[in-house]
Symmetry: C2
Subunit: 434 residues, 2 copies
């Protein structure tokens, strides 16, 4: 590439959206990326960098030489800088912090000190705060100056002389106001804010509930510390949703694809072993009925079918209730009504299954009486399974635990035990007809 | 309430955030709500109304008298009005549309014509479009006028004389620009837009990827039709995530809490019955080994334990892969490496379980040889289960189906059958030692 081509490339590269620049950058060979770094100044590189995933950022930062890297980090939003430095080892992070401007370094250091997954850890320091005594014209001028460095300029927070949050003005209201109108009269003093230690799910819920583009974060004495923007919240919601999947499947905290097989086994085996101990209970139940089983060995063949069906019906009810809780539609319907509805649904599905089996088992396994036992059992256990599936998440929710938490396997295990008890009790009591 | 108190109440009610106004309104008794309607004009009521859930809106609109309701609907954003009218029966919707101003009614009618869950159905018509020949000053003046009726004023779309989208300017850029700068030079002409028939998940992905506050929706010839805002996208993401839970648990399309028990049974029973037929296969497998089982009846006691463990290990792997696919982290890691890692994880967890059972079964059930059979089986079936759990969603994903789709129960069923085959094969071959 000669100098002229370089220039042309640079121009068209910078016209891309940062997200596309980042995608382009990460797909280059390592050597080509070095050329790109030489072409862009640290501020331009910061824009590209901000659009990368945290894992990619970690790789890239180690490719940059120290002074360039430090200057680039200075140009990152403080929340992005803090997230990045938390990923590096202590000496690397320290070296970068030391080379940064003191004020910026302090901001980043402050954010790194908040517990992970709280509003404090999620927020950025690049917000615009106004004085309530200024007028609209003055505020717009301040905005023009500070806009290039703020993460959002669409919500402007009003603070008093002690830096405490006292109000909020949207840029929309500011623009449509008379230029001599005082901020005090323009602002809404009922500001919804979150505490720095508020959990990130709570922050996401508030931003979602009020359709905010950002929410202010305050300390316990009301000092405005930073803001959380809606794009960060979308990432939180996505993250929580896929984490829920992990909790749902007893893989809590172990769904990260980046860990080694050994770490994965360490994180996941406790759940499997714990649930296996519950499985030993089912073995105990079956052993109690060894006598019955010894007389009709065919009964054993339908254990998996019964357990599987009860498990599936139970997790369906679970999904309905967890969804209702997540969307907030459940509380309004009434819990007892929901339980009764699930019970009715379970009976209907159980009835359909029972009828099907009464037809099929005699044909393929030649025993009408076993079909009767399996049929009655599946009807009873599916009715019970839907109640268990709906009740367990409600109880867990009442205990203020995430209702998706490991409830799938737990419900299946409870339903296994109940289903087996129903099955063998019915079989034993009908034994002299079999 | 006398007139003065009424006035005071009105003042303080209007100071609340619309979300809080809506919450207050929905918690009132029906008669009290009538008083509220008399106190607010239709435009103020539209603000409250917009913050209600669709189900709540449907109840409230039927409480209002016709002329008030029509005027209120006129003040709703077109997307909210279209969503609402789609929920009402034809004659109710028609009556409201007829009483509306013709232009508004046409906009609403247009939105109602788009297929559900597309960009067209999600978008609103209240956007601000600029002419590229105007300068910054003129644009800001236009903004001041149109702001009260626009859903967002933070992204301004530039159109040509044929109403085709040619660029975008953020309010931030507009504010910091010189007042005589022409829009043509300020705007970015690389606009990311979506087609009106784009699926809502796709729209959500794009807004999330680029951290947009809104995305423009265009027709096939590039005409700007409307915008989708980030708050609508958050609802879509939340909805998709909880729907995934339903798919994961074979309750696809049946997790709505508002349906009757009969409808729920109709929607959910096909899955249970289908999976029950797979369960009949497991019964067939066990029957094949009736001879073995007849000799050692204790083997039956550990069927649920084995199946449960394999099922749990399989869905853990499933959760890891589905999450990796959803977050886009998986493709970058390489599929074969992921499968191999899951296999190793499965072997390690299987080894831990096997060792535990070798210790416990002899103590509680008195048979060391059964413990050996169960131990070897759990080691093998957990190793296989993780591979099945990781492979199935990858295959489903390659077939362009949502990988969460009913994969949980399906994987569990496959693992049940494989686990039982492993168990009885090992038991049969070790039979003369037992």
């Amino acid at each position: 590439l000669n100098k002229n081509e370089n220039h042309l490339f640079r121009e068209s590269f910078l016209q891309l959206h940062p997200t596309d620049q980042a995608e382009y950058c990460i797909n280059l060979e390592k050597e080509q990326r070095q050329t790109l770094y030489h072409m862009l100044d640290p501020e331009e590189m910061a824009n590209v960098f901000q659009a990368l995933d945290l894992h990619e950022q970690k790789d890239i930062i180690l490719e940059l030489d120290q002074p360039y890297a430090s200057e680039m980090v200075t140009h990152l939003y403080t929340d992005d800088a803090a997230d990045l430095l938390s990923q590096l080892n202590k000496s690397e992070a320290h070296a970068l912090l030391k080379a940064m401007d003191l004020e910026d370094a302090n901001d980043v250091y402050e954010l790194m000190a908040y517990p992970p997954k709280t509003a404090g850890a999620l927020m950025t320091k690049e917000f615009i705060s106004l004085a309530s005594s200024h007028n609209a014209q003055q505020a717009i001028e301040q905005l023009r100056e500070e806009a290039p460095n703020a993460e959002t300029i669409y919500y402007l927070y009003v603070v008093n002389e002690r830096e405490q949050l006292v109000g909020v003005v949207s840029l929309r209201d500011l623009l449509t106001a008379q230029s001599n109108e005082v901020i005090q009269n323009l602002m809404s003093s009922r500001v919804v804010s979150v505490d720095s230690v508020t959990k990130q799910e709570e922050v996401a819920k508030i931003i979602k509930k009020y359709n905010f583009l950002a929410a202010p974060v305050v300390s316990s004495d009301g000092t405005l510390l930073g803001i959380v923007t809606v794009d960060d919240v979308i990432d939180v919601l996505e993250d929580e949703a896929t984490e829920d999947l992990g909790e749902f499947t007893a893989a809590r905290g172990a769904t990260d694809i980046h860990v080694s097989a050994f770490t994965a086994a360490k994180l996941r085996s406790p759940w499997i072993v714990l649930l296996m101990f519950f499985g030993l209970l089912t073995a105990g139940v079956i052993e109690q009925f060894e006598e019955t089983l010894n007389q009709i060995i065919l009964l054993a063949a339908f254990i998996p079918l019964l357990m599987g069906s009860a498990g599936n019906a139970g997790t369906q009810s679970l999904a309905v209730v967890v969804r209702g809780l997540a969307l907030g539609t459940l509380e309004k319907k009434g819990l007892l009504r929901t339980l009764f509805k699930e019970f009715c649904t379970g009976m209907m599905i159980g009835f359909i299954c029972a009828m099907t089996l009464l037809l099929i088992i005699p044909i393929f396994y030649g025993s009408f009486m076993v079909a009767v036992v399996v049929g009655i059992s599946i009807f009873c256990s599916l009715s019970v399974a839907t109640i268990v599936g709906a009740t367990v998440p409600l109880i867990i929710h009442k205990l203020k635990i995430d209702p998706a938490f490991a409830s799938g396997p737990f419900i299946t295990t409870v339903n296994d035990i109940l289903g087996l008890l129903i099955y063998f009790t019915i079989a034993t009591s009908l034994l002299h007809y079999l």
